[in-house]
């Protein structure tokens, strides 16, 4: 018997909370802070809910929440409208369709899956940018952003665990 399934998870907790947290964290890291002469990295926090929502409990609202979150990031980071929505949905879709395989896997395997799915999203972003701007974005920059984004997996894992330890209220 799972004694942890006592708390109810509402859509607000499962969808709105992580989406707002991801955008808030992106906003905070968008401040022009330099430590030791180096700029802070710019991880894509929105990969966290994109992965966790598809793995924990795919729902009707999650993809649309990712579209809204993606457009908000486009406005914040000045990327073309729809750019991050597509990239986030790539992560969500890959996780969604691999959900049966990923279920019950060890944390390290899930971390690997998170890395692969984020890399796929960044690859799509790379291709979209190269096609639109006619210039291939810096691979070093793409690699750095991917690396710091993959390091956020513990947050995604925490989110999935939070869902597993609660009763879905939707």
């Amino acid at each position: 018997m799972n004694v942890g399934r006592t708390r109810s998870v509402s859509p607000a907790v499962w969808i709105l909370g992580p989406a707002a947290a991801a955008f808030g964290a992106s906003l905070v890291l968008a401040t022009p802070l330099q430590v030791g002469g180096l700029q802070l990295p710019e991880p894509v926090f929105a990969f966290v809910p994109a992965f966790a929502w598809a793995l924990g409990r795919p729902s009707m609202g999650a993809p649309f929440a990712l579209v809204v979150l993606g457009v908000a990031l486009d406005f914040l980071w000045h990327t073309p409208t729809g750019f991050w929505a597509v990239c986030l949905l790539v992560t969500y879709a890959l996780t969604f369709f691999a959900r049966r395989i990923l279920g019950g896997q060890e944390v390290w395997a899930l971390w690997g899956a998170f890395a692969v799915n984020c890399a796929a999203a960044m690859l799509v972003g790379f291709a979209l940018t190269a096609f639109r701007a006619g210039v291939a974005p810096s691979l070093v920059g793409v690699g750095l952003q991917l690396a710091v984004s993959v390091a956020l997996f513990p947050f995604a894992w925490r989110l999935v665990e939070r869902y597993e330890a609660a009763t879905p209220g939707f």
């Binding site: 906003l27 905070v28 968008a30 401040t31 022009p32 802070l33 330099q34 430590v35 030791g36 700029q39 710019e42 894509v44 795919p58 729902s59 009707m60 609202g61 999650a62 993809p63 649309f64 990712l66 579209v67 993606g70 457009v71 908000a72 406005f75 914040l76 980071w77 000045h78 990327t79 073309p80 409208t81 729809g82 750019f83 929505a85 597509v86 949905l89 969500y92 879709a93 969604f96 972003g125 790379f126 979209l128 940018t129 639109r132 701007a133 210039v135 291939a136 974005p137 810096s138 070093v140 920059g141 793409v142 750095l144 952003q145």
Partner: protein
């Protein structure tokens, strides 16, 4: 009778199917957004400017403590570098440290503002000083939000300078904020010249720290350390603004180490440059070409210059 009570009410598609259907719909919607309004200056640019107006003050509030603590980070670094002697002195000066840090921050800020004021164009053009409050530095976009906008006279296309050189140009303007696209952005293209050879190139951003020199045209071979300036071609920016130094990239392409990277870009000056009429200035009356009513008073044109008007020739001679 509601739909739920009817025969269709018994049909419950699997949750995975519903989720997959929603995913496909969302993908189509996102794709349509990207295809329809995907350009950064497309039909949604008004919405973007409004969003900038909202996140600008939020960014300003978040960036204020960042600026305040900037000097403290430097002081901590200096402490570690100084070694054990500083450790002993620190005990004596503990009470004064907070004042010292504050003084350092103010002195540094003062020096940078003075340097910023010293960077002038020839002839002088009006400028607006601003803080940068938000910063997008990923591989797909390099831009900043500055806290000066249309209310201060900023318009799209204005070049933006730091105290060392050109940073980028304004691509979106709100009432109190403006979006600055940096030279490193993948969409940034800037006509530049090589100061030593007077050669021309297009500085092309790729999301990395060192933009590439594309379409390079120069008689002499480019050398490491050659100074790169704005060429003024196309009216994008006034001629002669400092951009950076030429370096050979790992990929064999010529790239530019930007002057603006020498210091954090927290203060910027937005050059209120619209076109070259500002630089040329108004013509004096004697530089203006003569009209038909003047013709009888002027001597006839010489045989070598048929149809030439002396006053026009004088104006041409006065033009640099």
């Amino acid at each position: 009778m509601s739909l739920r009570d009817g025969p269709l009410g018994e049909i419950k598609p699997p949750r995975a199917w519903v989720a997959a259907g929603a995913l496909i719909l969302a993908l189509i919607g996102a794709g349509a957004l990207l295809a329809g309004g995907g350009s950064r200056s497309g039909p949604l640019s008004g919405l973007r400017t409004a969003a900038d107006g909202v996140v600008g003050p939020a960014g300003g509030a978040l960036a204020a403590p960042v600026r305040a603590t900037g000097g403290v980070f430097g002081a901590i670094g200096a402490y570690f570098a100084a070694g054990s002697q500083n450790q002993q002195l620190r005990a004596d000066l503990d009470a004064a440290l907070s004042w010292r840090d504050e003084t350092l921050v103010l002195r540094r800020e003062n020096a940078r503002l003075r340097a910023l004021l010293a960077l002038k164009t020839e002839p002088p053009l009006p400028m607006v000083s601003a803080h940068t409050v938000l910063d997008a530095r990923g591989p797909f976009s390099n831009s900043r939000l500055a806290d000066a906008g249309a209310a201060q006279g900023v318009v799209e296309g204005n070049p933006v300078l730091s105290d060392h050189g050109l940073v980028g140009r304004v691509v979106g303007v709100g009432d109190q904020v403006s979006r600055v696209m940096l030279l490193t952005d993948v969409d940034s293209r800037l006509p530049v010249m090589i100061a030593r050879t007077n050669g021309r190139a297009i500085l092309t951003g790729d999301g990395g720290p060192n933009p590439r020199l594309a379409y390079l045209r120069t008689h002499d071979v480019l050398q490491e350390g050659d100074r790169i300036l704005t060429s003024g071609d196309g009216g994008v920016a006034p001629r002669g603004l400092p951009v950076g130094t030429a370096v050979k990239g790992f990929d064999g392409a010529w790239r530019v180490t930007l002057d603006a990277d020498a210091e954090p870009i927290d203060f910027v000056r937005i050059l209120l440059f619209k076109d070259f009429s500002q630089v040329a200035g108004p013509l004096t009356p004697d530089q203006l070409p003569s009209t038909a009513t003047d013709v009888p008073e002027t001597p006839p044109p010489s045989a070598s210059q048929p149809g030439a008007k002396p006053s026009a020739a004088k104006a041409a001679a006065n033009t640099p």
